[in-house]
Structure formats: structure tokens, C-alpha cells
Symmetry: C2
Subunit: 338 residues, 2 copies
């Protein structure tokens, strides 16, 4: 880790001042073409690349953005959202010369603390806010700290905070329509933690679609997005009388956990109970029965979020962008009630 060649070396070698070198290599006007060429050549010959540190200090920019994942360690391992989201973010950051600082926090409180620290250190120029809750204190926090932020799958409207969202309603409507079409009338829901905005949104979509179709929403039990909580939900729901004939789970993990438990209890899926998930994770296609679900595109969401954030760092005002809505994928875990 030995930094040798600096702007001073280049300047000396090219016989100009460091100011000229700086201007030349940042394509700023005021440098004659011959001089610029000469400088670029020597810089290249000397193998010089500008020090991010020096630049950071003088420009008061970190050239990186932050993401704090708030997730229980036991859930995070199987949650495929972040891998896709991050690779999307990364693909855009790379081209912009920015880097992603990733942190993991187990609780909401610790999450806040990490954002606060990121800000205090000036380690990042902007942040992503995922797993938005209601209310979410991070909004006020970043606003107060004056840090550009992009919220994912949150409602637009926070002033100064951008958002990127993939609509869930059309696909959830299509899913419920599919179930009703098959003849289901007792359709239960396994929700995520209710203070998460996306959990809340999915539940609301479920409830409203059914109300609109003049069907009384079935039971709703709260899970935590984990496989295990899906299993617990199955145990709870399948002992109810009358038993639901179909269940919409707020994510695929819970749906798979649900199916595993249902099968274990002697119920057949979809014979005795149809099960659908949300997310469209790869495993869904390999589960038995394969999972009817709603496919989402975390990678695209990540790309858009990164683009939006970089734009804000360049001075663009907060904005809201909608990506292509999620869509229904019908597989083998849903069928007519018997």
C-alpha cells in the first residue's frame, strides 16, 4: 500500500504546475491542447491516478454511498432481495466512480445509529433507505442531516427524499383474481411485520381486492418474513374452522415455510389449500409443488435507486420513479378448492 506518484511528480515531470495538471486531467478549460496532451501522457507514463483521499478532503465528497441493511441475521441469509438489489446498485455506481458502503444492523435502533455514524464521519454522500417502516425515523434523520436519500418501495412525498418503487397492486390483484377465479372464497393472508410499509401495502392490497370483489377477507396472521414464521402461520391457519382454502403469503419464504408445514400436517397443496407467495425467488420454481407467486425485480430497483441517488448528488431535486410493476406467475401451488 505504498502511494508513490502524486500530482506533484506529474507536474515536475511534465514541467508544469500542479494546478495545470489538475485542470488538464479534469478536462477543465484553460489548458492548451499541447500542454494537456503532454500532461496526460506523463501521467499515464508515471502510472498516476488521483488520490481519492486528497480529492475527498478538498471537494468535501466521499465518493461513496451507504446502505444499512436492517435484518435479523437468521433471516438475512435466505432473503434474496438484497443480493439482487445490491448488484443492481453496484452496476450503476461502478460507472459513476462511486462505491457502496454496506452495513448490517440487527435492530431498528442500531440501524439508526449506523446511519448517524455514517453521517458524522462523512463517510458517504448519500444513502439508500430500504425496509421502510411507518413511521420511519430515518426520514427525519437524513433530512435533518441534509443527506441525499432514496427510499425503496416507500410512498413518494418525503420532501427532499427520492423514492423508487415497483408497484405491487396490479400483480396482487391479478393473483387474487386468479384465486377467486379458481373458486376460492376463503382466502387468508400471512403478512409481514405490520409496521413495514411493504408488509402493510401487501396486506392492504389483499384486503381491498377482496372487499371490492364482495368477498369477506379471511384470516390474517402476522409473520416476520422468515421460513419459520410461514410454518407457524400454517399451523395457526390450518386449524381454523372454517379452514381457508387459499392463502396469500407476503413473501415466498413464508409461502415455502407454509407449504412445508401444511404438507407435514397431512394437507395437500394445492388440493386442500392453495398457497401463493410474493417476490419470485428462484427457489419457488424448484419447490414442490412449484410456487405461484408475484415476481419482482430487485436488480432493476437497485439500478434505478442508484441512478436516482447519483443524480441527487449532482444536484438534481428529489424525484420519484416507478419501475415496471411486479407480475403474476402461476405455478403448481394454486388450484381449485375441493
Amino acid at each position: 500500500m505504498k502511494q508513490r506518484v502524486t500530482i506533484v511528480d506529474v507536474a515536475r515531470d511534465a514541467g508544469v504546475s500542479i494546478a495545470t495538471v489538475s485542470a488538464a486531467l479534469n478536462d477543465r478549460p484553460g489548458v492548451s491542447e499541447p500542454t494537456r496532451k503532454r500532461i496526460v501522457a506523463t501521467a499515464k507514463r508515471l502510472g498516476w491516478s488521483p488520490s481519492l483521499r486528497g480529492r475527498s478532503l478538498s471537494q468535501k465528497r466521499a465518493f461513496s454511498v451507504g446502505l444499512v441493511i436492517q435484518r435479523n441475521p437468521s433471516v438475512i441469509a435466505s432473503d434474496p432481495f438484497f443480493a439482487g438489489f445490491i448488484s443492481g446498485v453496484e452496476s450503476v455506481l461502478e460507472d459513476g466512480g462511486y462505491a457502496l458502503v454496506l452495513q448490517v444492523a440487527p435492530t431498528r435502533q442500531r440501524t439508526i445509529a449506523r446511519y448517524r455514524q455514517l453521517a458524522a464521519d462523512h463517510r458517504v454522500d448519500g444513502v439508500f433507505l430500504t425496509d421502510v417502516s411507518i413511521p420511519d425515523t430515518r426520514f427525519d434523520l437524513v433530512r435533518r442531516l441534509g443527506i441525499p436519500a432514496v427510499a425503496i418501495n416507500a410512498r413518494p412525498g418525503g420532501d427532499g427524499i427520492s423514492s423508487v418503487r415497483q408497484a405491487h397492486e396490479p400483480a396482487i390483484d391479478a393473483l387474487l383474481h386468479h384465486l377467486v377465479d379458481l373458486g376460492h372464497r376463503r382466502i387468508a393472508h400471512v403478512s409481514g411485520p405490520k409496521d413495514y410499509i411493504h408488509a402493510h401495502d401487501r396486506e392492504t392490497a389483499w384486503r381491498e381486492y377482496l372487499s371490492g370483489a364482495r368477498i369477506r377477507p379471511g384470516a390474517c396472521v402476522e409473520g416476520d418474513f422468515s421460513l419459520a414464521s410461514g410454518s407457524r402461520a400454517a399451523a395457526a391457519l390450518l386449524r381454523r374452522r372454517p379452514r381457508p382454502t387459499a392463502v396469500f403469503c407476503a413473501n415466498d419464504l413464508m409461502a415455502i415455510g407454509f407449504i412445508a408445514k401444511a404438507t407435514e400436517l397431512g394437507f395437500s397443496v394445492p388440493g386442500d389449500v392453495s398457497v401463493a407467495g410474493y417476490d419470485g425467488i428462484d427457489f419457488g420454481a424448484y419447490a414442490r409443488p412449484s410456487l405461484t407467486t408475484v415476481t419482482t425485480a430487485p436488480h432493476v430497483l437497485g439500478e434505478q435507486a442508484a441512478r436516482t441517488l447519483l443524480a441527487m448528488l449532482d444536484g438534481a431535486p428529489a424525484s420519484h420513479v416507478d419501475t415496471e410493476p411486479a407480475s403474476l406467475v402461476v405455478r403448481a401451488s394454486t388450484g381449485p378448492p375441493t
Copy 2:
């Protein structure tokens, strides 16, 4: 993002020089207790926290470490290793005041390029090397660049490069012993890409155990660690004559893909063919049949890797640490041959 209070403000307010403030707040000797207390108090009152940027420049340290994940975007989403590994890394870095810079690259070439850029920018003080291949040019690269590095699940021995490893042999031996014990004699293997060291290691462990047990190793087909490649392997292996009665897959994803395809082709698992995986991902417990596998501990590996790297940054020489070996978990996907 307005940085206001600097060390100068604190110095002025406390009526001392900035040198004294710096010394006081870094617990360096040469500051009288009363002065130190006064300084700490004013710093706190003014809400001062040292600028990472200023410190970075003068200390020539980035206070962050890097990890470039090299993975095909389609595989990364379902691969649970990194989530666990990263959360382990992060938990240690947090306490050390370090941050993790995470990058994602689709190919080996791009991976190298990203490491090179991280070094050129001096964006990180050290790096993790995962998914080590044979040969792996990154070893020479980081050595040449003089960047402290920790390789994960690689063989010890690279001078100047530490390694952290969770032994696979005992568990793979136990797994094969389990299969042989059940009566299996035709035991096939679905490997990962053979140029990956861990893929190679697992295959070797399989081959050597069987040789040692005087059993001829069965067929070995190469996969890419994805669900889909597990399915392809099933199609290929199950049409062989004589058919293998058991299959050891180099990771759980392929094992699950294998089972899905086998079932689809009309084979029963473990009736017609026993299937075992490697990794111990959560899904294994929820698959039908539940998956016999080898559990690993990515989180622990991450913690150890981070500790080792931080130690190197503090001047410790390269070292090698072994974590608790992986261990066998017998579930329902393996049984006696029929």
C-alpha cells in the same frame, strides 16, 4: 451535509492548540488530565467528531476494507453464503471503526479490475478474497500492490496473505460414511466449477474418501452451483446405467435443483436415489424431502476473516485460522438404496 465544527473550533473554544486537542482526543500522552477533560467536554458540547477525510489523508488510511463478490447475477440472488459472511464481517468491522466497501462483478476479469481500482484509489486498506480459484491471479495482484488480504477457504501459504478456513473434510467424510453405511456403493458427485478451490476440494474429498473405502468413485458431473445446473446434472446422471444410488452435490442449491428434477422424472428421493448437499442453507430444512447436508458457518467465517484483516492492518503478520469444522446434518433426502 454541512460540516461545521472542526478541530480548530474545538481548540479555540477550549483555549488550546489543535495539536493538544488531537493528542487529547486520541488518548495520547502529554496532556494533563484537567486539560484533557476540558477538551473532551468542549468537543462534546460542540458536537465535534473527527473528520474521517482529514484523518484519512494525514494517516494514509482509508478506514475501510473491500470485498468484491464475483458471481453471476442470476446465481447471486439465491446464494446465501454472502449474506451470512458479510453480516459476520460487518459485526466485527463496526467495533473497529471500519467500513465495508462492497462490489459485485460478473466475471473474473472484471473482478480483478475492481480490485485494481480499489487499490489505485486507495479506497480500502485491505481486502477479502472469496471464491478463490486455482490459480488465482488476485494473490499476486494484492501482493504486488502491497495490500493486506485475507483469503477465505483457501489453502494457507500465500506469503503475506492470511487465510481463514472452515474444514470440509471431516463433514464430507462423515456424509460419505453415512451413505456407505446405508449400503450405497454407486455414489456420484455434482461438482462446482472445477477451477474454484472449494469445488475442487469437495470433489477431492469425495474421491479420496471413496478410494480409501475401496469403493470406485461414481460419475462426476460439473455444475455451476446454481439450482438450474443441479437439475441438469440430475437429467444427466439419472439416465446413466448403472444408475448411481446416491449423489453428493457440492452445494445445497444444486442438491435442491437435483431433487426437483429427479422427482419430475419420476424418481423418488431417497427411494430411488439419495441426495445430499453442502452448505446447510435454511431452505434445506424446508425442502421436501428435507435435505441431508453439511452445515457451514458463513457468519463465523466472516467474523474471523474480519478480525484477521483488522489485525493485519495493525501490523500483525499474515496468519491462518481454522474455524470449527463443518458438520453433517442427516435429514430425509438420504436413505438406504432399494
